[in-house]
């Protein structure tokens, strides 16, 4: 751990010019074992460290990064960053970046598990065997990933920041496919591999693939829905990007621009960014070293706040809320990474189904994309466990459906939530590993707009 801090200090020391600088060191060690048709396919081990040097000059921040750590490599990186910042400063008006944040002291958290950090591939191999056995016993194939990782982040800046954080994350994602092609999905995410019950995850996925009957076809229309936590998490992730993004808010592109303090969802909807929540994936600070703190976003259905980094905050005239994704702010803005949707009183999804005369049970949403971002209008398809609800019960599988609806509309029409929230992780990890997740229950909404069956 101290090696990362030492590297950050050396990188910062390599900077010789500018009005300020920040050095960010991110070290990733991870394993990812993939499988398909109940056979291993690819296994990847990553062990890499990146150093990013950001230099401030006349309100502009420019940067350079390297994965080298020698004196020469750090010096070359620093020179690149300085040249870039100087070029930006000489061009046009002064920039709006107010300066790198001063240290504010972040709290310790329980987001690191030493056992997981060992990254023992035998643990992954054992998990795969459990999945394959569970799938075979139910006559289905297993597809998915087992993954574990440790990420160390160290920040040193000329504003006096000297901070380090170490986190682990683990995940198992299983899609079971039955001989006729029906599929079901389940997943588990935690800070520790020991918390993942591979057999249970596979059993749940297999149960979704094994609902009896030929898939029925549902026409376009508005239907009452029960959404499992995976589908709810997907909607909330889109909400975070489109509406709760402080840059979008400041630029009048957000659905809540001009609507903070107004009702945007059902009164039962309480959404917060809660980095210390027990079931979340905690981290101590954001990409600028600003401490992560709990923050209400929607309270009793009323839009309360959006998240900011230093740059979007400066644009909006507020302080950073600790949501920077890159030093000096990502071009696409900040977003919440530890969302928690408060649970309700329904025992489980079966109880959510009971008032529904005819509706759709959705396990998972796939390939969602904004259609009209300012309205949170998105489209996507259901996947891996789409079922017909009739007279209060799941009665048959359904062909997958395309939906086109607004996220805030679904939240406005939310009637009930289950009592047990689940951490739904995102293990996409394009580029560096940055584990995030949404803790959420299942929900029932009075309607969701489906625009057709997927053949």
């Amino acid at each position: 751990m101290t090696a990362s801090l030492e590297l950050a200090e050396r990188a910062l020391a390599a900077v010789r010019a500018g009005d300020g600088a920040q050095a960010t060191v991110v070290g990733e060690r991870s394993l990812m074992l993939r499988f398909a048709r109940s056979q291993p396919t690819q296994a990847t081990a990553v062990d890499d460290t990146s150093v990013e040097i950001s230099v401030l000059r006349d309100g502009h921040v420019a940067g350079a990064s390297t994965n080298g750590g020698t004196g020469d490599e750090l010096a070359a990186c620093a020179r690149e960053a300085e040249r870039a910042a100087e070029a930006a400063a000489r061009h046009g008006e002064p920039g709006a970046y107010p300066g790198f944040p001063e240290p504010a002291g972040s709290r310790a958290h329980a987001g690191h598990d030493p056992e997981t950090a060992l990254l023992d591939p035998a643990a992954g191999g054992a998990a795969l065997r459990q999945v394959f056995d569970a799938a075979a016993s139910r006559g289905v194939d297993g597809h998915g990933i087992w993954t574990a990782g440790e990420v160390t982040t160290a920040i040193a800046s000329t504003a006096g920041m000297l901070a380090i954080d170490r986190v682990t994350d683990a995940g198992l994602r299983v899609t079971c496919v039955a001989p006729g092609g029906r599929s079901g999905h389940a997943a588990s995410t935690a800070t520790a591999t020991g918390a993942i019950d591979a057999a249970a995850v596979a059993a749940r996925a297999a149960s979704r693939a094994s609902v009896r009957g030929e898939p029925k076809r549902l026409g376009s229309g508005d239907y009452a829905v029960v959404l499992e936590c995976y589908a709810v998490a997907e909607l909330l992730e889109q909400l975070g990007r489109l509406a709760l993004n402080g840059l979008a808010y400041a630029e009048d592109r957000s659905a809540v621009s001009g609507r903070l303090g107004t009702q945007v969802a059902a009164p039962s909807v309480n959404l917060a960014d809660s980095p210390r929540y027990a079931r979340s994936l905690p981290r101590a600070f954001d990409a600028e070293g600003v401490p992560k703190r709990p923050m209400p976003l929607i309270q009793d259905g009323v839009a309360h706040a959006v998240v900011h980094d230093t740059r979007s905050g400066a644009l909006a005239g507020v302080r950073s809320t600790g949501h920077a994704l890159e030093p000096a702010g990502a071009p696409y803005g900040p977003r919440p990474t530890n969302m928690v949707l408060a649970a309700g009183g329904a025992a489980d999804e079966a109880e959510l189904c009971r008032p529904i005369e005819r509706g759709v049970y959705v396990t998972r949403l796939w390939y969602t994309n904004p259609v009209r971002p300012k309205e949170t209008l998105i489209t996507g398809v259901t996947r891996d466990g789409t079922l017909l609800i009739e007279d209060g019960e799941v009665v048959a599988p359904l062909e997958d459906l395309r939906f086109t609806d607004t996220v805030l509309g679904v939240l406005e029409r939310t009637q009930a939530l289950t009592a047990q929230p689940t951490l739904v992780g995102d293990h996409g990890f394009y580029g560096r590993r940055f584990a995030t997740g949404v803790v959420c229950p299942g929900l029932r909404a009075s309607s969701m707009h489906f625009t057709g069956a997927v053949p």
């Binding site: 990812m32 296994a43 990553v46 996947r383 580029g431």
Partner: protein, 470 residues
């Protein structure tokens, strides 16, 4: 590789040194100036049917040997897997460098900012414009590949380009216009000359004006009608509904967990009608300027030109040595590509192109269309996991009335089912309208990887398409 040969059935190693530069302005200010460099060695091993991969940023022998050991450890830790054969391939030998006129990394940042700032300035003025942005991108990869079969080859490719964006917003909605393409613009395998030739400032006033006009334009009506797609949107259509569907690893179910599968099966080769007889699709890794152009893929297989669809019939897949062997092909199609040194190769698109037709220019095609909608520039995309049911949106559309462009329409969307959609293709513009378009953010794999690919298209017409979904 000598050490690996005694421990593994097969092994390869790739040294990759990648640099990238991103420069952007936003609302008249410099927003981003960043250069990144990442270098290291990725070692891939095959042991009794299982693959293992590990990477190291240190290029010394000891570090690479440790990566080899880690890769072997991974392969051994997994449950047993069938030992599918890798189709033979002569060991790759030689070197390749993509043509680069002006080194984009040698051009001063100040010069690039001059171009971007001029374009950004030329868009601003109307208070309804909330965001004006201009951006520059450059990439360079140097790759060295070696294998236990005796391959040793090196390649150097450079890519460069950029674009502009204007976002207008009112109380209810926001509208966006981009040039020359959406999502970070037009990038080609070339030098700085490609970026310089885009004429961003010249197109900026039009882009800004269109974004504002869209706020007050009528919405695209919901109807079934004739649809003409511009080349850029058609590139996205091709990418999502053909390119991904013919990736053989998806067809075989290896990507079910994340990217999904395909509606195709190996038995469909040479028997499935994918589209109308005007549909001719080729995957060509030898095309000048293509983002998917190389001498050898990341398994050391030479880049090739592969027919995918001929006169509407499925004739080929995108494959690897392993997937090709699984379905009994003699050779891989050379489509294995990896993002940097710390990811292992996957079956990826190269340059997947819809060959031009004989319908003349875009204006001539519109003139030959009595009634319909012309859609331009991708805004949104969504397709199901088997690449069948899609719904796409573009930034703008024009109604076509009596062979002429009529009203500007906002929020245009269209949907379809892949083989039915391509069966409705009844005209493709001629070679004069054909060009390569980039897709810069094709995501696949776990851990995730991004690939840059190109698609050659000319505008084309489709009949009886559902438009105006949302």
């Amino acid at each position: 590789m000598d050490g690996a040969a005694s421990h593994a059935d097969y092994a390869d190693a790739r040294f990759v040194d990648s640099i990238a530069e991103r420069i952007a302005t936003r609302n008249g200010r410099v927003e981003e100036v960043a250069r990144s460099r990442s270098a290291g060695v990725g070692v891939r091993v095959r042991l009794g049917g299982a693959w293992g991969f590990a990477a190291t940023r240190d290029g010394d022998r000891r570090s690479v040997e440790r990566a080899l050991d880690r890769a072997l450890e991974l392969a051994r830790a997994q449950p047993a897997a069938p030992d599918a054969r890798l189709v033979p391939e002569p060991p790759a030998r030689g070197s390749f460098e993509s043509p680069t006129g002006i080194d984009p990394f040698a051009v001063p940042v100040a010069d690039k900012l001059d171009v971007l700032a001029a374009a950004d300035d030329a868009m601003r003025g109307d208070p309804r414009l909330k965001v004006t942005s201009a951006h520059f991108l450059a990439f360079r990869d140097e790759r060295l590949f070696a294998s236990t079969e005796g391959a040793l080859c090196e390649q150097r490719t450079s890519q460069c380009g950029g674009g502009i964006v204007a976002v207008a917003s009112d109380d209810l909605e926001s509208q966006i216009r981009s040039y020359p393409a959406s999502f970070r613009g037009d990038v080609a395998q070339s030098g700085y000359e490609h970026f310089a030739g885009l004429d961003l400032a010249g197109n900026a006033p039009r882009v800004a004006e269109e974004a504002v006009r869209l706020l007050d334009a009528p919405s695209c009506p919901a109807e079934r009608t004739t649809l003409i797609l511009d080349g850029e949107q058609l590139a996205l259509q091709l990418h999502e509904s053909v390119g991904h569907a013919v990736e053989l690893d998806r067809v075989l179910g290896s990507e079910t967990s994340y990217a999904g599968g395909s509606f195709l099966s190996p038995a469909d080769l040479d028997s499935l009608r994918y589209g109308s007889p005007l549909m001719n699709v080729t995957a060509d890794a030898t095309l000048d300027g293509g983002l998917g152009t190389f001498a050898w893929d990341d398994e050391g297989v030479p880049g090739r030109c592969v027919p995918i669809v001929r006169e509407g019939m499925l004739r080929g897949f995108l494959s690897s040595r392993e997937s090709a062997g699984t379905i009994g092909l003699d050779r891989s199609h050379g489509c294995m590509r990896a993002d940097g040194f710390a990811r292992q190769p996957l079956v990826r698109m190269t340059n997947v192109n819809l060959e031009p037709g004989d319908a003349g220019s875009l204006d001539e095609l519109i003139a030959a269309t009595e009634r319909g909608v012309y859609m331009e520039t991708n805004r949104s995309w969504s397709i199901d996991s088997r690449r069948l049911h899609f719904q796409f949106a573009t930034e703008l559309a024009y109604e076509i009335v009596d062979g002429r462009r009529g009203r500007l329409l906002k929020n245009p969307t269209y949907a379809g089912v892949t083989p039915r959609f391509w069966a409705s293709l009844d005209a493709v513009c001629s070679a004069g309208e054909w060009r390569l378009w980039p897709i810069l953010n094709c995501g696949k794999g776990e851990p995730g990887q991004t690939a840059r690919v190109s698609h050659g298209t000319a505008p084309a017409r489709f009949r009886d398409v559902q438009v105006g979904i949302a």
